[in-house]
């Protein structure tokens, strides 16, 4: 791994360039920053389940409706005995997919909540309104690309900024992360519309063993050391063109952040072990970044991770089982890592997915594109051990079905789901409509679903 070497390399160059005095000045500045940002910290972590997670097999009613579930789902129904029990204060009991059983302890310790039947909505919509075409509905329902986009933009009729990005725009105005120049948003899963703002762009960090810094740095190789020294010199020389300087500043900032992350995480490895799966590696990278939050000068951060493959048109049971078997240990490790870092009440992880899937199975033991689905929220700031929103009536052509196959019309909008998280995150109440412009179509008393403390 070259991460430590990156650190050593940049460290050596910095030493070579700076006078002793300015070294101390820099250290003092970092310490001051660290002290000033220590207490006030909050982070959101979105784990996007690409492909449309079948929520009907994620959270299953146990104390009621199980027979309707078993009857309709037939070949893709999960036996009740295999479900991990999720008792709620109301007495209703739900069951968690067996491959997610590793998360059950967080339910018991009230750090895990379920928000039921969340989806994209323009406004509250009933089956009757939907069938009569009397309610405007999100554009291109059931389309992967559109719904993936709408879940991230919270703009059901289309938009090109994400709600996380707009949140970041607001916190830029608040100056919360000042004077840090590190972006509030960070994606470890490539481009993330969720975090694209008008005035802010997320950092995109490739997770994994390659490190996040300059390739090829090697303190043991004289030529590489000389090359990196020259690079530093070129980055800091005045080229006489403003945009050259701006580009160099960006590169230097990238190197600075990479150095910082590598430095701190190398010298203080987390005890918590993450699985080596893709999602495990992504969440591990996020944990490393949270670990260096004070050194980065961050008070608010919003991360984006993802796991694909949920488009289970066939072999639903096997495919979802495999995916959850990757997801659950990664989420558990992440939550344990947050506890290790002492920030489990400052970091909230939540799931998104473009849609759920038809309650009625399709040929080939799968399920097709549908609409509202259930989502998980994890963290010590979550009012866990409970299910929020309303669990749909499991009846084809029933009151929650937008058609005849069990396409649940969402009863909690992504806007409300996001606004609940954003409110906890600390956005000003009167800025909520800028972050979620569509939320004005909902009763203001329902804007906060209530699952965050």
């Amino acid at each position: 791994m070259n991460t430590r070497r990156n650190f050593l390399k940049v460290g050596c160059c910095a030493l070579a360039k700076a006078t002793i005095g300015s070294q101390f000045a820099q250290m003092a500045a970092v310490n001051a920053l660290a002290q000033s940002t220590g207490a006030d910290y909050k982070a959101l972590v979105c784990v996007f389940l690409f492909g449309g997670n079948d929520a009907n097999n994620t959270v299953i009613p146990v104390s009621s409706q199980y027979s309707q579930y078993a009857t309709t789902r037939g070949p893709i129904a999960i036996p009740q005995a295999q479900l991990a029990q999720l008792p709620t204060p109301s007495g209703a009991v739900y069951g968690l997919h067996p491959a997610l059983a590793g998360l059950q302890p967080f339910w018991t310790s009230k750090q895990l909540a379920v928000v039921a039947n969340v989806g994209t909505l323009v406004r509250p919509t009933t089956r009757a309104q939907y069938l009569a075409g009397q309610s405007q509905v999100p554009s291109n329902l059931f389309s992967h690309s559109d719904q993936t986009s709408e879940w991230q933009t919270a703009m059901p009729l289309g938009g090109n900024t994400g709600w996380g990005g707009r949140l970041a725009d607001k916190f830029l105005l608040y100056g919360t992360n000042q004077p840090s120049s590190f972006p509030l948003g960070t994606s470890v899963n490539g481009g993330a519309l969720l975090l694209n703002g008008t005035n802010t762009q997320p950092a995109t960090i490739q997770p994994g063993s390659q490190g996040i810094g300059l390739e090829g740095s090697n303190p043991d190789n004289a030529a590489a050391v000389a090359r990196d020294k020259a690079l530093q010199e070129i980055l800091t020389m005045d080229a006489g063109y403003a945009l050259v300087q701006a580009a160099s500043a960006n590169t230097q900032e990238g190197i600075r952040v990479a150095t910082l992350v590598n430095q701190v995480t190398q010298s203080n490895p987390l005890t918590t072990q993450f699985p080596t799966s893709g999602i495990g590696t992504q969440l591990s990278q996020i944990a490393r970044l949270i670990q260096v939050r004070t050194q980065l000068g961050m008070r608010r951060q919003f991360f984006f991770a993802g796991l694909g493959g949920f488009d289970t048109h066939s072999n639903q049971l096997g495919d979802q089982q495999n995916l959850f078997a990757q997801l659950a240990p990664a989420l558990a490790a992440f939550q344990n890592a947050m506890a290790e870092l002492g920030v489990s009440d400052k970091v909230t992880l939540f799931t998104e997915s473009e849609f759920s899937r038809t309650f009625q199975p399709s040929a080939g033991a799968g399920s097709d594109h549908a609409w509202g689905g259930h989502h998980l929220v994890l963290g010590a700031a979550v009012k866990g051990g409970n299910l929020y929103g309303r669990y749909p009536t499991l009846a084809l052509q029933g009151p929650d079905d937008s058609g005849n196959r069990g396409n649940w019309i969402p009863t909690t909008a992504i806007d409300q789901y996001g606004a609940s998280l954003a409110t906890w995150f600390g956005v000003a109440q009167n800025d909520l409509t800028a972050v979620f412009p569509n939320i004005v179509n909902f009763d203001i008393n329902t804007w906060n679903v209530g699952f965050m403390s």
Binding site: Q201, T204, L243, A246
Partner: protein, 880 residues
């Protein structure tokens, strides 16, 4: 044997001698002669030593005291018994007489009957050893000669104390011939027997194992032109010299090489012929000679070394001419040493055609391609055995004649193509900008691959895009097509398949030099755009079903493709009302009216299927109108223009485009966006206006428009706060082209644009990868919107991989040429300066790069690191 010397002497004689004269017995008067000493023992003389003894005669009772001396009854003696002088000096003979007891008598001169006698006993001489030759021998039969003195025929040589058969040569020489197979260190001496037996001094003597010879090195590889010292190490012999042979010829010869008396082998001037091979050889057979050393001590003792001969390391001292015209066939004369038959050579990455070879002169021809930075290394390579490259010399490449400097050409090509290449710089220098633009207008269009099926992934088309960009002739058309794709945006986010995107991108490329409004109609009717912005299957108002025409396309057509939100001046600035506020270009109602215009279109009916509305998706043809779904009512368009009722969908569309064309915003709107794609993010109003006027006056003709953009004086004279960050696709391509890269159709470049924020044809939305209004540090710089710090690192890391040919084997820069230049670091750095920075590298930057280069002598590392530092620099990433 003992000898007794008897001396007769009378008491009277003793008295007469007066030794004791005292009272005692009466004094005798009898005459006597007495000899003393009466007995004596002596060694015989030898050829080199004389042994003498003086005897004294004492005469008593005689008046005459003189005597005569006799040896064994012979007066004065002789050589057999020894001689004696009149004075009584006796000298022993040189050989022992048969009787070694000698009587010496002194007779009275006057009375000879009266005599005295002494008895002398003779003994063998004492032997003395001075040399033993040789003093070391090998086991077996050997002969040794001993030199010394005192040898007698009965002397015996003692070897290690034991007497051995001895040949007497003389009293100074003995010889030993012996067979002895026991190697040891011992000594040698001589013993003379009785009488007087005595042993000589001893000399050390060695009996050694047999002679051996070891030739080193046992095997060797020697290049023509070099020499090699061989060592013949002889053991167990006093004679350590050897005689040298090459292939059994003493001292060797000119064919196989010669070897000196001291073992220095010099290969022949040219490789000897290879041995005939009985089986087909897959590799050239090794050419060997045998070096042999023969011991001069024992000529049966030999040893050999096998020498593998290799061609010389060729060395070039000069190449003429030192410059060449790109596109011509250059003829080069290469002088130097060590050139072998079968030699090859390279001019940069071009193989030389060798026309003649001697060991000191090669002539060759090559088609001249531009070198990176206008310089290219030339070198030769001797073939196997021992293939080896020569040093290189630098050839400058350029046009036959120039109307532009290479720097001016390079700058122009930076904005008019996917970046300058050495060849395109030279070509532009030669033909000038106007002719170059005409050529671009006429250049054949690089196509994208035909989608085979609806499931064809976009990847092959993306790879073709990059291959076309690196190698295609229609550079400006491609740049224009890509620029248009960022204004008239569709995105693979929604239409990811090849059959959806390729027709659209082809349309943009083919229409790149046509009319903007003609293109706009094609865009509007493109099923890809129809799908992307929901115009496909858009239908007139249907109150019964609560359906309103979809506004999406109508809105973006106005806002993003043509007019923009606010009224503009010709210089791109906002028109302001009396209150100093911007003035909307149109209202929401206008959007609704355009939405109604854009109704009645569906996918063209798939071949063999029945038309309906909506038709299933089909991207093989423009959308088709189904008039029943078209809103035929009158619409009020921009600036209050009203369309007649009852027009068909296409008639209405034409009216709408004509209406847009008449809007004064379009020229500055398009001008700004195109300027941003080609030259700078932040043009002056005057620049915008100049371009907008061309667009306006030509009715939206794109070729004159782009010509105006590229040739504007402002493009050549940017202020310090003007310019643009090369967008990722251009950054990658211009780097690769400047470094003379080659790319094949299976290149993987599209995996890199993604992590730099510009996933080719997959803009996040219709708002493109970045906004034309995005500012960085107050300067409009759209590309900075995707240049986050982590992306900035990815950009530098791209340079790292590209400059070490680590992108993929399908995309390779001409690293070998840079390695050739790296023998001379300033030449290398200057070449990169010309290739990547249009010759504008600051002295401080040169120093930094040079320092890094000089930190290693590895030419490849030098080349990589220098290219990395320049290609990854912000100076390269930003234009100018």
């Amino acid at each position: 044997m003992t000898h007794t010397l008897r001396v007769a002497a009378s008491l009277a004689a003793a008295s007469l001698l007066g030794l004791t004269l005292q009272a005692g017995p009466p004094v005798s008067t009898t005459p006597t002669v007495a000899v003393s000493p009466a007995t004596y023992t002596m060694r015989i003389s030898t050829s080199t030593t004389t042994v003498s003894k003086t005897f004294y005669a004492s005469v008593s009772n005689l008046s005459v005291k003189t005597v005569t001396w006799w040896v064994n009854g012979i007066a004065g003696g002789n050589s057999s018994v020894g001689t004696i002088t009149t004075a009584g000096v006796y000298t022993t003979p040189k050989a022992l007489p048969a009787n070694n007891v000698i009587k010496i008598r002194a007779h009275s001169s006057t009375n000879p009957a009266i005599y005295g006698e002494a008895v002398v006993t003779l003994q063998n001489p004492v032997p003395s050893l001075s040399t033993v030759t040789p003093n070391a021998v090998n086991i077996g039969t050997f002969t040794v000669v001993l030199k010394g003195t005192g040898f007698v025929p009965s002397s015996r040589i003692l070897l290690g104390g034991s007497a051995v058969a001895t040949t007497f040569v003389s009293d100074t020489g003995l010889k030993l011939t012996l067979t002895d197979n026991t190697a040891r260190s011992t000594d040698i001496g001589v013993v003379n027997p009785d009488p007087g037996t005595v042993t000589s001094n001893k000399k050390s003597f060695t009996i050694m194992p047999p002679v051996s010879l070891n030739l080193t090195p046992a095997t060797a590889t020697v290049r023509i032109g070099a020499t090699r010292q061989f060592y013949g190490s002889v053991s167990n012999s006093l004679d350590r010299t050897v005689t040298w042979y090459v292939n059994d010829v003493k001292g060797g010869n000119a064919v196989y090489g010669t070897i000196s008396e001291t073992g220095i082998y010099t290969p022949p001037a040219i490789l000897p012929p290879a041995p005939a091979s009985t089986t087909p050889a897959t590799t050239a057979p090794a050419i060997t000679v045998t070096i042999k050393a023969v011991s001069n001590a024992a000529n049966t003792i030999t040893d050999t070394s096998l020498v593998t001969l290799q061609n010389a390391i060729p060395s070039i001292t000069s190449v003429t001419p030192a410059s060449a015209v790109i596109g011509t066939t250059g003829t080069f004369t290469i002088l130097g040493t060590g050139f072998a038959n079968g030699i090859t050579g390279r001019l940069g990455s071009t193989e030389l055609t060798i026309t003649s070879i001697t060991s000191t002169r090669v002539t060759a021809t090559a088609t001249i391609k531009g070198g990176i930075g206008g310089v290219v290394p030339i070198g030769v390579i001797n073939p196997n055995p021992g293939t080896a490259p020569s040093n290189v010399k630098i050839i400058t490449t350029g046009p036959a004649q120039q109307v532009l400097t290479s720097q001016a050409a390079s700058k122009f090509l930076q904005r008019a193509s996917w970046g300058p290449t050495p060849d395109t710089i030279a070509h532009l220098q030669e033909v000038g900008i106007n002719r170059w633009l005409d050529e671009q207008l006429a250049a054949p269009v690089s196509d994208l691959p035909e989608p085979i099926a609806d499931t064809t992934s976009i990847s092959p088309a993306q790879r073709t895009f990059y291959r076309n960009a690196i190698h295609g002739p229609d550079q400006l058309r491609q740049r224009m097509g890509f620029a248009l794709s960022q204004i008239l945006v569709v995105s693979g986010v929604k239409t990811p398949q090849s059959h959806q995107l390729v027709p659209y991108m082809r349309m943009l490329n083919r229409g790149a030099f046509g009319n903007y409004f003609t293109l706009l109609k094609g865009v509007t009717l493109s099923p890809t755009m129809g799908r992307f912005l929901d115009m496909v299957n858009n239908q007139k108002e249907n109150p019964a079903r609560g359906i309103e025409p979809n506004e999406n396309y109508g809105r973006e057509l106005l806002q993003l493709f043509t007019v923009g939100l606010t009224q503009l001046n010709m210089d791109g600035s906002n028109k302001l009302n009396a209150q100093g506020q911007t003035i909307p270009a149109y209202s929401e109602e206008t959007v609704k009216q355009f939405a109604r215009i854009m109704t009645g279109w569906t996918f063209t009916t798939r071949p063999g299927e029945t038309p309906r509305f909506p038709n299933p998706s089909y991207y093989g043809a423009p959308m088709m109108a189904v008039e029943a779904y078209h809103d035929t009512t009158s619409k009020t368009l921009l600036n209050g223009a009203v369309t007649p009722t009852g027009r068909t969908a296409e008639e209405d569309l034409d009216l709408a485009i004509a209406n847009i064309k008449s809007h004064p915003n379009v020229a500055p709107f398009v001008a700004v966006r195109l300027i941003q794609r080609f030259t700078m993010g932040n043009p002056s109003g005057a620049y915008i206006q100049r371009v907008a006027q061309v667009f306006q006056s030509t009715g939206g003709e794109l070729f004159p428009t782009v010509k105006a953009i590229l040739t504007d004086t402002e493009a050549d004279n940017m202020a310090p706060n003007q310019g643009k960050l090369k967008e990722p696709v251009l950054y990658m391509l211009s780097m690769l082209r400047a470094l003379n890269a080659t790319a094949t159709l299976d290149n993987n470049l599209t995996s890199y644009d993604q992590n730099m924020g510009e996933d080719l044809w997959f803009a996040p939305s219709v708002f493109n990868y970045f906004s034309p209004f995005y500012r960085k540090n107050g300067i409009v710089a759209p590309e900075f919107q995707v240049n986050t710090p982590s992306v900035a690192i990815n950009r530098v890391n791209f340079a790292y991989r590209a400059t070490r040919n680590g992108l993929s084997s399908q995309v390779q820069i001409d690293l070998p040429s840079l390695e050739g230049l790296a023998t001379d670091p300033p030449t290398l750095v200057e070449a990169l300066n010309q290739a990547l920075l249009n010759g504008g590298m600051a002295a401080t930057m040169k120093t930094s790069v040079l320092n890094a280069v000089n930190a290693t002598t590895d030419l490849r590392v030098r080349a990589r690191n220098a290219a990395y530092l320049v290609a990854g620099s912000s100076q390269f990433q930003v234009e100018p």
